[in-house]
């Protein structure tokens, strides 16, 4: 008689050398969030949340981050497509240029934006002369600053998805009579949708958290350019528990969005 053996999965035993730093790393990432939650003044939370200043900052943040993400989608997806599909000289240089805002300190980005789009800037002076409109210290300025900092996230994510996508589907579309735009719209874009979604989430989250470029380029005017991160920073100096509440709100919004999207689309993230 053969003994019936129960099948047991073979466990991977993690080496201590890897396990210890892994746990320390996890703690390092989670501990600050725990601190935030532990110090939250739960008792006065409701009344603080109802503060019009908090609501104004939150509304401005959500609005500007969303518009900035739309701007990034409109400009960034075509840019990613060109980088992924059109061979041209200097493509590597362009690709490197696209990632510069990613590594550039945001404050420097804000200064650069100022020099380019400010009232006396490279393009800004011309814009001001032509229309009398000047971007800095406006809500539009906030959107510009956020889009500048966040766009590389979208471009890199979408370009990666495009390069990984099977281009033979595009050939199949061509044999079925589809031109370039039709192929892009009906075949390419749906195929890379998960990459676009993942890129949009990253882009949105980055825009929502933008601080340096925003405060440099758009200033800190409540209701107009004071986004949540700016409000948090300001509150920390005058009213620390207000800062905690604002931070908690940002945290909840981010986690909620991530949880909401992760299941559906953001497998690529």
């Amino acid at each position: 008689m053969t003994e019936v053996q129960r099948r047991r999965p073979v466990r991977t035993r993690a080496p201590v050398v890897l396990l210890v730093p892994a746990l320390v790393g996890l703690a390092f990432l989670v501990l600050p969030l725990v601190g935030l939650i532990a110090r939250t003044p739960w008792g006065s939370l409701g009344e603080r949340l109802a503060d019009p200043a908090v609501i104004a900052a939150l509304r401005l943040s959500l609005f500007t981050a969303t518009v900035a993400t739309v701007v990034c989608l409109v400009l960034g997806v075509p840019l990613a497509w060109v980088l992924a599909r059109v061979p041209f000289r200097g493509r590597r240089v362009v690709r490197a240029l696209v990632t510069v805002p990613l590594v550039l300190p945001p404050v420097v980005g804000g200064v650069a934006l100022f020099l380019a789009l400010g009232r006396r800037g490279l393009v800004g002076a011309w814009l001001y002369e032509a229309t009398g409109y000047s971007l800095p210290f406006t809500t539009t300025g906030v959107i510009v600053a956020e889009a500048f900092v966040a766009m590389p996230f979208l471009v890199i994510s979408v370009e990666g998805a495009l390069r990984a996508a099977d281009t033979r589907y595009e050939e199949a579309a061509a044999t079925l009579g589809a031109g370039g735009w039709m192929t892009f719209r009906r075949v390419t874009l749906p195929l890379v949708a998960p990459g676009v979604a993942a890129g949009s989430v990253l882009c949105w989250a980055r825009a929502l958290g933008e601080f340096g470029a925003t405060i440099t380029f758009a200033g800190n005017f409540p209701g107009r350019t004071q986004t949540m991160p700016l409000a948090v920073y300001l509150a920390l100096e005058t009213d620390p528990s207000a800062a905690i509440v604002l931070s908690l709100v940002l945290l909840v919004v981010c986690v909620a969005i991530l949880a909401l999207l992760r299941e559906r689309w953001v497998g690529a993230l």
Binding site: A172, A173, T175, L176, G177, A178, G179, P190, L191
Partner: protein, 354 residues
């Protein structure tokens, strides 16, 4: 009437394709060849996914690709339908939307395109699968959807790339039989690219054999199977094939060995015989087989119910013996045997094309 007239010249590094291909309206031609022969290159050139370096492609008198006069019609403007090897059905669209795709791109209104696509799916017995995504279709169903998608815009030229390769053996049998009657239509020319001789024989009216970028033989399936002209085809159809010079009933091979045939032939000649017509003996047999050659066993493998014996000698060949026969002869690698073939079992035919 010749619908497709092509002379395909493509160079890619060391590889070069140089093949003429004419297909009449209503005709199905198989492009048969081993891997790397240039079949896919030919198909891509015909589809417009790759441009010719030299030559010409005209369909129904319209120039599609004439490098000499700078004419190139891109894939999207050709009246072509392609069934790709792994179908490439758009995974985000339903079966119906896949079939309607080629109609929509050509300006058919959405509703009309859906009606037309639905009737194509019905014709292929897929009416109830219209709303399914390709990921939820079986291999055979996906294959039919791909065919419907290619046919829906009524192309003048239909191209199929290894149409049965992605199917499992049982489904392949079934589809092979039904595919044949969907292919032929007087309105179009059809080219099937395949490395499977059975697919070529069942699906095509005419076979064009492509080896190393060159056409090595053209003919009906019967001609190709009975009178192979290259080792590749001989192996595919399971014949021993020799090239030599005929004089009366004797064909002399380049190494001096002779094969006696029932047919009388003079000049360059091919001789072919089936492995099953070879009789093996351990000792030199008495009697009068005309063809008797000493040989050494170099390989033994199962072949259906039989054992296929590879023999080396003046006339290298494959011979089929029954398993019992192989045991009785105690065949082992390196064994010395006598191989006998009756003259009436051989087939001799002219070595030069007519």
């Amino acid at each position: 009437m010749t619908l497709l007239s092509a002379s395909l010249g493509v160079r890619r590094g060391a590889f070069s394709l140089s093949a003429d291909l004419d297909v009449a309206a209503g005709e199905v031609v198989a492009l048969l060849g081993p891997n790397g022969a240039g079949k896919s290159t030919a198909l891509r050139a015909l589809a417009g996914l790759l441009s010719l370096d030299t030559g010409v492609i005209t369909v129904d008198g319209v120039a599609w690709d004439v490098p000499a006069s700078d004419v190139f019609v891109p894939a999207r403007s050709r009246s072509v339908g392609v069934v790709f090897q792994d179908y490439l059905l758009f995974p985000h669209l339903s079966a119906l939307e896949n079939v309607a795709f080629g109609l929509r791109t050509r300006g058919v209104a959405a509703r009309d395109a859906r009606v037309a696509a639905a009737s194509w799916l019905d014709r292929f017995g897929l009416g109830s699968f219209a709303v399914r995504r390709p990921g939820r279709l079986s291999g055979g169903q996906a294959q039919r959807v791909a065919l419907a998608r290619a046919l829906a815009p009524h192309p003048r030229l239909l191209l199929l790339d290894e149409p049965l390769a992605a199917l499992d053996a049982a489904t392949r049998q079934e589809v092979r039989a039904s595919l044949r009657h969907h292919l032929a239509s007087p309105e179009r020319a059809t080219v099937v690219v395949t490395h499977d001789p059975l697919d070529a024989m069942v699906l095509a009216d005419r076979i064009v054999v492509l080896e190393a970028g060159q056409v090595t033989q053209t003919g009906t399936p019967v001609e190709i199977t009975r009178f192979p002209r290259t080792d590749y085809i001989a192996r595919l159809v399971g014949l021993n094939l020799y090239r030599g010079v005929g004089a009366g009933h004797v064909v002399t091979l380049p190494n001096g060995a002779t094969v006696t045939c029932a047919d009388s032939i003079d000049g360059p000649a091919f001789v072919a015989f089936a492995p099953s017509s070879v009789a093996l003996h351990r000792t030199r047999p008495d009697g009068s087989p005309r063809n008797l050659w000493p040989a050494t066993v170099t390989g033994l493998e199962r072949h259906g119910d039989n054992v296929r014996v590879r023999l080396d000698g003046d006339v290298p060949m494959a011979a089929d013996v029954t398993t019992a026969g192989a045991a009785a002869l105690s065949l082992t690698l390196g064994a010395q045997v006598w191989a006998a073939v009756k003259a009436t079992e051989t087939q001799a035919y002219p070595g030069e094309p007519d």
